[in-house]
């Protein structure tokens, strides 16, 4: 499974991105990824609304390619707990 990750925004507005293979994830991170994908499939997740007091927050885009494609955009204040540790991991790869 391939994960494309992009972080943009923040005060500096610098965009960084990376591509990570799911085999590189720890078992915990793989578990969080699976939970995240399940939530996406069950439509429990949605993109954050705009203009809700998130000025200068980081914006994240995650694209997961596993036969099917899942994509989500979120920011650090709107983030699902299942995503936090996954994003923490992905940020170390930037």
């Amino acid at each position: 499974m391939k994960i494309k990750f992009e972080r943009s925004g923040g005060f500096a507005g610098i965009t960084n991105s990376c591509v990570v293979n799911s085999e590189q994830l720890s078992s915990d991170e793989q578990k969080h990824l699976q939970e995240f994908l399940r939530d996406v499939e069950n439509k429990k997740t949605e993109n954050p609304s705009l203009n809700s007091g998130r000025n200068d927050c980081f914006q994240y885009k995650i694209l997961v390619e596993d036969g099917k494609k899942f994509a989500i955009t979120t920011d650090e204040l709107a983030m699902d707990p299942n995503l936090r540790s996954l994003i923490d991991f992905l940020e170390t790869r930037l």
Binding site: G9, N51, G53, D56, C57, F58, Q59
Partner: protein, 342 residues
Amino acid sequence: MHTHCFAIPPYILEHIAKKGTKKDQAAALNTISISEQTRGRREALKHMSSLLAVSGKKERIIYDAKHRRFLPGELIMSEGQRKAPSVFAREAYQYSGTTYDFYKEIFGRNSIDDQGMRLDSTVRYGYKYSNAFWNGSQMVYGDGDGRIFRRFTRAIDIVAHELTHGVTDFEASLVYQDLSGALNEHMSDVFGSLVKQYHKKQKVDKADWLIGKGMFTSKINGDAIRSMKAPGTAYDDPRVGKDPQPSHMKDYKKISEDNGGVHIYSGIANHAFYLAAMDIGGCAWEKIGKVWYITLRDKLRPTSDFKDAAKKTFDVAGELFGISSTEQIAIKRAWSDVGVKI
């Protein structure tokens, strides 16, 4: 998608926000703020304003997140405290105070909401967190990673930038996406720069017109995060790339990252402000700063773009200094020079 569960009923949170200890008040207000993010923000802010309003005097509170991501964190400094517990607290306290003084003395504005709202800041947010932001009710600063970025409290214009996001929330409430978002960022850079110039008592020709000067470590080839004088030249380094800000509308295109490039295309309006300020001369906060402030406070709307801002700043300059005054002509010329026709 949301992170937080709101098990406490709103009326209890509001009671705590009114009657609780300072620490409990802050926690309750933060919870109200986050929960209101999924509802009408502007209405929520107006509602919270009455809870946040104090005696109308400057009141600052500094919290320490101790490298965690929970807000507001532990209370470490209050108004009037003479000794700061850390350099982070001292900078956040002093610079938010200078920003408060600037708005009060220059524009007669009483804090973020113009009703004496307390200025809350959290320092040491997150681990090696290279960012600062306004979350709708307070300012938040990371330490930086020490590899690329230094601590985000060290630059007065960053503190003023974040506080101005609060002012914008209470006034024009510019939507944080595409050109209205870039205008939102532009306003924060303008007043960030003006607070720095006011703090240093600089006239336009002595100002550096840089935003976040010295924020990069010595390992990075960069003077600052942005340049209003020469957008696109603030940094150029393999580890962070090249400053992407354009200075002309011909380089604008719709993009998806950074909420539609709010930190990128703000460079166009920033440059217009710089050109007009240089043309008018003197202390920038006295004339053009006043034009921009009145425009932000009274004229712009949530979906306003650069063209709207150009027209409104032109109109306000006419009202303040006269039709075809040198100030009004300078503003029209500056917007035209960056590709925004009035």
